[in-house]
Structures are given as structure tokens and as C-alpha cells.
């Protein structure tokens, strides 16, 4: 090995100097030792230079690739146009469904309040039914708005997927976000999707319908130990709550 050769040369020179027994090395000897030491140092720094250069080169390629993928994600476009637009579409959906619901309810309330014996009852019912049909047209526009929002989400999903691929397999998922909700907030989960949550008949079983107190909460059961949110609750646990 290269390093061993240098060590051997130095050892030979040191032995030679010791054996001479002279009071000090002459200029030629010092020059020889210096030459060997410089050669050693040069070899050492050359090996460091090469490995560092290779690592920096790889790092630079990696950053360039990531920059390219981030650029293709077009974060400015997302932040400036697509995400605000998606937010506005969702707000418009909420507004239009609310308006439609109110129009439909107003028409239904007018029909309910009308006197069936009145001469204009038939006309009133017909007019209000037309208003209901018109209000239902919100569904078409809402569907188009939802498609636009889904398009934006798909756009983000595809590009984030490409970025993940570009960053390679060494990219590990970070720890899951910590649930920062406190106290009763952990019970706020919002509407369940299909397959999540429980149906009304299961709620009724938990509530012990048929045995429910007929009136104020005078026959409320004694509180049982509080369940930990997210825990699975066995039927026996539930039964114990209602004993």
C-alpha cells in the first residue's frame, strides 16, 4: 500500500540518522526527510480532495435534480393562482348550496303555510315547485366547481409524487403529525365518510333506546370510566356503561 511505502521510507531515514551518531543531520539529510514528508502529505491531501470532490459533486447533482422537480411543481403558480382559486371554488360551493337550500325551504314553507281551500292554491304550489326546480340547478355548477378543485389536488399529488421519486429511496417519511388537540377537542372529528363512524341503529343500542329515560335526565347512569379517544370499545364495556 502507498501509505506503508512512505512509512517504510521514513523509518529507514530515521534509523540512518540514529545510527550515524552525529550531533545533527546535515542539509542533504534534512532535505531528504522533508521530501518524504511532503510526498506523504501530498498523497494524503490528494486522497481527501478526491473523495470530498466526489461527495460535493453528488450533492450538487442531487440539489440540481431536486431544484428541477421543485420548479416543475411551480410553487409560485400554486401559491398565487391554483390554491387560492380552489379555495374560492369551495367557498362558492358552500354559498351556492346554502342559497339553494334556503330557496327550496322557502318554497316548501310557502306551500305548507298556504290554504288548500284558497282559489290560487294550485297556482301557488305550481310556482313554488318551479322555484324548487330552479334552485336545484345549483347541482350542475357545483359539480363543475368540485371538478376544478379535484383537478388542483391531482396536479399537486402528481408533482409531489415526482419530487419524492427524484429525491430517491433515501427519503424517509417523517414522524406523523402530533395530534395537538386538547381535552374535549379530541372528540371533534366531523362528518364520517362511508364505512367510518356508526349508524343510527348502533347509536340507539349504545343509548339503550327503549330504556331511555322518559323525561329529564333523572335516571341517568352513574358515570363510567372515561374512554380514551381512539380506543376500541368492546360490547362488554358498552354494556357496563348501561347497567
Amino acid at each position: 500500500m502507498f501509505g506503508d511505502d512512505i512509512n517504510d521510507q521514513i523509518a529507514v531515514l530515521v534509523d540512518h540518522l540514529r545510527k550515524r551518531g552525529a550531533p545533527g543531520p546535515n542539509l542533504v539529510e534534512v532535505a531528504s526527510v522533508t521530501e518524504v514528508l511532503i510526498a506523504t502529505m501530498q498523497a494524503y491531501f490528494r486522497s481527501i480532495d478526491t473523495s470530498i470532490y466526489r461527495e460535493f459533486r453528488e450533492l450538487s447533482d442531487y440539489i440540481a435534480k431536486a431544484r428541477g422537480e421543485i420548479a416543475s411543481l411551480r410553487p409560485s403558480d400554486l401559491q398565487r393562482d391554483r390554491l387560492p382559486r380552489a379555495g374560492k371554488e369551495l367557498e362558492a360551493i358552500v354559498r351556492s348550496t346554502e342559497e339553494a337550500t334556503n330557496k327550496i325551504m322557502a318554497a316548501a314553507e310557502a306551500v305548507m303555510a298556504a290554504d288548500p281551500a284558497a282559489d290560487d292554491f294550485r297556482t301557488l304550489v305550481s310556482d313554488r315547485c318551479m322555484e324548487i326546480f330552479e334552485a336545484c340547478s345549483f347541482q350542475d355548477i357545483t359539480g363543475q366547481r368540485i371538478s376544478k378543485v379535484v383537478e388542483t389536488l391531482t396536479y399537486i399529488e402528481e408533482r409531489v409524487g415526482r419530487l419524492k421519486d427524484a429525491l430517491g429511496s433515501e427519503l424517509q417519511d417523517g414522524p406523523p403529525d402530533e395530534d395537538r388537540r386538547k381535552g374535549d377537542e379530541v372528540l371533534l372529528n366531523g362528518p364520517a365518510l362511508e364505512g367510518e363512524g356508526i349508524a343510527q341503529d348502533e347509536v340507539d343500542k349504545l343509548m339503550g333506546d327503549g330504556e331511555a329515560p322518559a323525561g329529564p335526565a333523572k335516571s341517568r347512569p352513574a358515570p363510567a370510566p372515561a374512554p380514551t379517544p381512539g380506543d376500541k370499545v368492546s360490547q362488554a364495556d358498552i354494556d357496563a356503561l348501561f347497567e
Binding site: M105, D184, A214, V233, L241
Partner: protein, 128 residues
């Protein structure tokens, strides 16, 4: 004892459309004396101002949830006897059990229909 159809009922929901739906359903069931609140705090103010025969409340509202309202009603000597029905989209077992433990009289999962509301009100109040 027959249920008094004129008894005041307090409905609590932060979504005005839902208040309107419940009010109309109650009207169909014969209950006309209905007041509204849009969160737990407003509901407590109304409850302290006049007695109600029934509270029908959503869960997920700000600043005070229906669950907190339920706990405060049950902790108040003057209000704790008021029947309380929760109507909510929160449909996890832990929610139902928590509400039951807090003293809710019945629990309806959204979306619901008039028949469900009627059945649950009968279970709580008796026949009407």
C-alpha cells in the same frame, strides 16, 4: 302525562339552514314555541333567561361546543333536569359514549329524517 306542545324548545346549531330544518320539522310535529342559538354560550344565556322543556343541540360549534353545553347544563342545579338531545355528524362510538356519560338523553346522527327526530323526542319526552 301528555306532552305540552307549547313548551319552549331551544335548538342550537351554528348552521342557520339546519336551525331552519329543525324548526320546520318541529312545527310539523306540532311544536311551535321554538327559540334558536348558534353556539353553546348563546344557548346558556337563553337557558338562564327562561325555562325550556327540551334542548336540541349540535355538537361541533364555536366557541362553545354542544358537548360543553351539555356538561354545563348538567352541572347547573337550575338546568340539569332539562332533556337534551344531541343531533350531530360526530358518529364515533367514543362520541356517543362521552355524550351518554355526560347525561345526554338521546343522540341523533346527521343526516337524519323527521321520523327519527319524532321517535327520539318520544323516547325522551313521552308520547305526543
Amino acid at each position: 302525562m301528555a306532552v305540552d306542545l307549547q313548551m319552549p324548545i331551544l335548538i342550537v346549531d351554528d348552521y342557520k339552514t339546519m336551525l331552519r330544518i329543525i324548526r320546520n320539522l318541529l312545527k310539523q310535529l306540532g311544536f311551535d314555541n321554538v327559540d334558536e342559538a348558534t353556539d353553546g354560550e348563546q344557548a346558556l344565556t337563553r337557558l338562564k333567561a327562561k325555562p325550556y322543556g327540551l334542548i336540541i343541540s349540535d355538537w361541533n360549534m364555536e366557541p362553545m361546543t354542544g358537548y360543553e353545553l351539555l356538561k354545563q347544563v348538567r352541572a347547573d342545579d337550575g338546568l340539569k333536569g332539562t332533556p337534551f338531545i344531541m343531533i350531530t355528524a360526530e358518529s364515533k362510538t367514543e362520541n356517543v359514549i362521552a355524550a351518554k356519560q355526560a347525561g345526554v338523553n338521546n343522540y341523533i346522527v346527521k343526516p337524519f329524517n323527521a321520523e327519527t327526530l319524532k321517535t327520539k323526542m318520544r323516547a325522551v319526552l313521552g308520547d305526543f
